[in-house]
Symmetry: C2
């Protein structure tokens, strides 16, 4: 049966119906409006930067590297090199290990000459130790580390290429300075370079180490380095030398393969002579090489075995600097 509504006269019913439907329509529109406000914001509304940030960070970690440069008594060279290295492609950040104890870092001056392409962090040290550069710096965000001596200038082309090589050999030390050890019948080891007899694996020479003073390696090895036997730290501190030999031992032990991959540099220079400080590097000390031979033997004792392996692979960049560097005479 039809109720209250039906009792009304036809005309009044019509107007009430109209009002009713109008109200319903308005309510529906309001609800719809409220719903659209709740919809997820579409692309155009977002700031272009904010969407890109997370991607840049993960991209940075894999596609860029951190330069770690330890410095002592050669601030003029340091700053010259920073001017060069700050603009290397794929560089994420620079960590300067400041071994000038008690001396102010050039941070103020650095900042006054900003902005700079990448952040530079000055890590002030309390003791002047060779192995300071092998700390597991919390500032490190990238998988790759480029370690450079504070007197070594390597061209941007060489660094860009070597970084791409490291990306293909991430568990190795990929760098520009190869060295080798040889064992003697007495069981005592000797350290050196091309001047030493080749270890006798066919023709040509071999290398068993790549020095970390001009090389890329995985930041995980800095973590590993914190977990070495105390005797290793004692050896490095006693000689103020051999931290790079120790790193090669560590990497070789870890991989069971040759620790390094040698990339032949097109343009690498030592700027030592250019310093105003008059300070020349540790390698000028009379006992330097003898110390390193000593270190090799000591490390074999500490690690109870010789983990270093030989390699004769030399990598160059195809077609650079000369596109004809690979033309054969066929």
């Amino acid at each position: 049966r039809c109720f209250h509504f039906c009792k009304l006269p036809g005309r009044v019913t019509g107007i009430r119906l109209l009002r009713f439907t109008s109200v319903v329509i308005i309510v529906l529109l309001l609800v719809a409006g409220a719903l659209t406000a709740l919809l997820p914001t579409i692309k155009d509304d977002k700031l272009p930067n904010s969407r890109r940030e997370p991607k840049t960070q993960s991209q940075s970690a894999l596609d860029s590297f951190t330069l770690i440069m330890q410095t002592y008594n050669r601030t003029d060279l340091l700053l010259k090199l920073l001017n060069h290295y700050q603009a290397i492609p794929h560089l994420h950040k620079v960590i300067v290990v400041w071994n000038n104890i008690g001396e102010k870092t050039p941070e103020e001056m650095w900042n006054s000459l900003g902005p700079h392409p990448v952040p530079v962090v000055f890590k002030v040290q309390t003791v002047n130790r060779m192995r300071n550069r092998l700390q597991n710096f919390p500032d490190l965000e990238t998988k790759a580390v480029l370690m450079m001596d504070d007197d070594t200038l390597v061209s941007a082309h060489d660094l860009a290429f070597a970084f791409s090589v490291w990306q293909q050999f991430p568990e190795h030390i990929v760098g520009f300075v190869p060295r080798k050890h040889i064992s003697t019948p007495s069981g005592v080891y000797s350290y050196g370079s091309f001047e030493l007899q080749n270890p006798g694996f066919g023709n040509g020479d071999q290398y068993s180490m790549v020095l970390i003073g001009a090389a890329f390696f995985h930041s995980g090895y800095l973590e590993d380095f914190q977990r070495q036997p105390e005797a290793v730290y004692a050896l490095i501190d006693e000689t103020q030398n051999c931290d790079d030999i120790a790193m090669n031992f560590l990497v070789a032990k870890h991989t069971g393969k040759p620790s390094g991959v040698f990339v032949k540099p097109v343009d690498i220079r030592n700027l030592e002579k250019d310093t105003n400080s008059g300070y020349s590097g540790m390698w000028h000390r009379a006992e330097h090489l003898l110390q390193r031979s000593y270190c090799v033997s000591k490390l074999v004792n500490i690690y109870d075995g010789m983990p270093l392996k030989y390699s004769n692979i030399m990598i160059s960049q195809f077609g650079f600097p000369n596109y004809a560097n690979h033309k054969n005479k066929m």
Copy 2:
């Protein structure tokens, strides 16, 4: 109660006891003798050769390679090259793919000039096809194949080094002749070498193929080659060309990486000019390079995509031929 034995007089018992124990002892000795005969033969008893055989076989499979050389109308070059290659270190066997249809192989003459350092097998073909050399020969016992054109002379030093490099990159084609493709805005591909513009990945050049006419690769790829789309075989047969490009496509697809690793040869020579046959290789045909560009595009269609990847890694042997080839000017 004591039985029969006890009834006997003491003296008789003593003798019987003695006999009994003697028999027991003799039986025990016989049993012991029989047992020692069943023991595994100790080392000294084995023939020195028979113990070494299985090891040599497995050692051979991993530490040596098989040379596959296809030949057509250049038997003089073939024999010259066989004299050279038969003495390469780590060579296991030579397979000559005889494309001289209807012509006798030089096997008799070869045997009359024996013995030779390694076995040489002449595989007589029924049709003169470029892709005959890519069969999965049952004669193949090694993991590694060295494929050489019948007019290419590579020094033993280069081959020994390249083999050691292949052992470190077994899934790649490790060889001496790099080539590249470039894509054009029209989507049509071009094939070439240093004369083509570099693909634009920074400075220097790139390569995306290593030709199999002077290269090491895994014998498994010959097996894989038998399972390619029919259109690939048709293309190679139609052009009598491009089998090497097809192999690079196959390898790149399989690894997802650049197919080849380029080893810069110290001494590689083309002996074409030296042949008496007057026959010069296929690459002198006017359409040779155009065919190869055509092949690249066709293979992209067949494989529904471009699997080739670029590399700029060039490998040389450290300290050879000159120990100073890695000295830097620091």
